[in-house]
Symmetry: C2
Subunit: 328 residues, 2 copies
């Protein structure tokens, strides 16, 4: 299962880090910015630069996370860069996480699952058998008729995607079903890293039944309970912010088989020592760092390095910090 | 303000309906399906078919809602269809709602707001003044140097977008700020139309302080309180499902200036009489119908009509039902 591959890749690289490719024009080094003469150029250059980053980082980190907001900014050109970045990372043997936080109900949630987890085929010729105007079939001389030629639609193919569960079970199950059928995984927002995550997630429920985020975690556990890998973890995981060490430890203790995607490291203030409680014998989570790695070249500390080398240095530093903190 | 334009358009057309353009291959009439020879073709034909629907519906309905999931399914080709559909609807004088349910924190939420509400300019030449390699500037002979040529990035331009507020205030404020600065609006998920919306939204809070959805509505009210149009409504509105008439009436009573986007009509089971309590003197909401209109041609009731004419007939029937139910 994909969750076992992730756990294994973390073990092999001794590094529970996922690099967030939040690549925008501002983070492109000047030599690459100079190649851009239009917004459409930017999207092409972001793809190319992401490939260089992936080439540089693929032996250090087990996974990349691609944040769709920074690609949607650039319209459909950006979405193409988003898809091509996911594809290249996968081709390089990395685990890919599409950070899209999608959410909807029923048929619409299924459409999102198709967009990111499963793809789908179009059966162009449902109505075209032996139709003179039929253009898509292949003529089968044995049958004396045109035959079925379903085509896979090109989509945003990732190993894991992030999902917002506010709409409840019937909004999440289409994603869970897609994970089951296509060996994929999701991370559902439980306790996020931002200061205002308390507004709703920390509300206490009537009858001392805990908080909203704890209830969300309980649902995540149930949604994923029949999908457990040989690693002991479920591909139906949770997003828990590194800035919330207490809640991380609470959830680790309550849900031993839950895998965590842990944002908030670096730019948002969390450090390696903050995430100790999220892990169990060095397993069970992956820590995201985006700007701290991809824009390391803009920092004094990595001055004089090329942008890609600065990213490699920053990722190596983070890895080493995590190895010490987690005793890997 | 855009919210006043929406209120006015509803009044002029005596019709609080928004048509959901959830157009997929399955909903294209066979004559158009026949034109598709590849998945990329489908996206092009969806755009074209949406234009025909818009042409047919623009004098009946005040607004269209475009659900991104059904476009993301078709990859970046689909996202282009999504953008072009929004643009055409706007060019035809309709109010546009991008149903994207986006959500994230800080800088990432801002990127989403740029993608859908504000756009942004790239200042290509920050570092290029008098740079020989500078390709983007315009040489100003008076100044003897290249001058600034910021370019607006092409984005998914809508009047309103939907937002999921689970991440709390700092995840929503970038959208609210973009509304204020660009005269746009958002609808935040409060009480959704699906059966499992109870899972989290209906949880009761400690100390008899109401439900999660009621708390969300309170935040929506506060986020939008300093942004009120001459109509008395705020462009920071709420999504409340037509399948939840009790909650709709409760929220209408509690928050008189809150405008509702009301999904769940038709295919999900709600009828015109169910939404009465969501309105106040015939104002304060807009009811969405997607499949009930765009796939009307597949129903026995509208048999024999072209697909566009069936959509017009279904939209007219819905309008007439709402006029009676709401005494418009």
């Amino acid at each position: 299962m994909i969750i076992d591959q992730l756990v294994e890749a973390i073990k092999v690289k001794r590094n529970p880090t996922v690099v967030g490719l939040d690549t925008t024009y501002e983070f492109l080094p000047p030599t690459i910015q100079r190649l851009c003469n239009s917004p459409a150029d930017i999207a092409v250059q972001i793809t190319d630069y992401n490939r260089r980053l992936i080439d540089g980082l693929k032996d250090i980190v087990p996974a990349v996370k691609v944040q769709s907001a920074y690609y949607e900014m650039y319209g459909w050109d950006g979405m193409r860069a988003f898809a091509e970045t996911l594809d290249y990372a996968k081709a390089c043997g990395l685990i890919t996480i599409a950070d899209v936080k999608r959410n909807d109900i029923g048929a619409t949630a299924k459409a999102y699952a198709q967009a990111y987890l499963s793809g789908f085929t179009v059966n162009f010729n449902d109505f075209r058998i032996n139709d003179d105007n039929f253009k898509n079939g292949v003529y089968d001389p044995n049958k004396g008729e045109y035959v079925f030629r379903p085509q896979l639609v090109r989509y945003f193919n990732c190993d894991f995607m992030t999902v917002n569960g506010y709409l409840g079970s019937d909004g999440v199950m289409p994603f869970v079903d897609a994970c089951r059928e296509n060996d994929k995984g999701i991370f559902i927002l439980v306790k996020t890293s931002n200061p205002s995550s308390d507004d709703f997630q920390d509300l206490n429920l009537r009858g001392n039944t805990g908080t909203v985020y704890r209830r969300m975690a309980k649902f995540v556990h149930e949604w994923g309970s029949d999908l457990k890998g040989t690693s002991g973890f479920s591909p139906i995981g949770a997003v828990v912010g590194a800035t919330r060490p207490e809640q991380g430890a609470e959830l680790r203790h309550a849900f031993p088989s839950m895998f965590f995607l842990i944002p908030g490291f670096g730019a948002q203030g969390a450090r390696a020592s903050d995430v100790r409680g999220f892990f169990r014998d060095g397993e069970g989570g992956i820590v995201n760092n985006s700007r701290g790695i991809i824009s390391a070249w803009q920092k004094k500390y990595y001055q004089g390095m090329t942008a890609v080398n600065a990213a490699i240095a920053a990722a190596t530093d983070m890895r080493n910090d995590l190895r010490i903190a987690l005793d890997l």
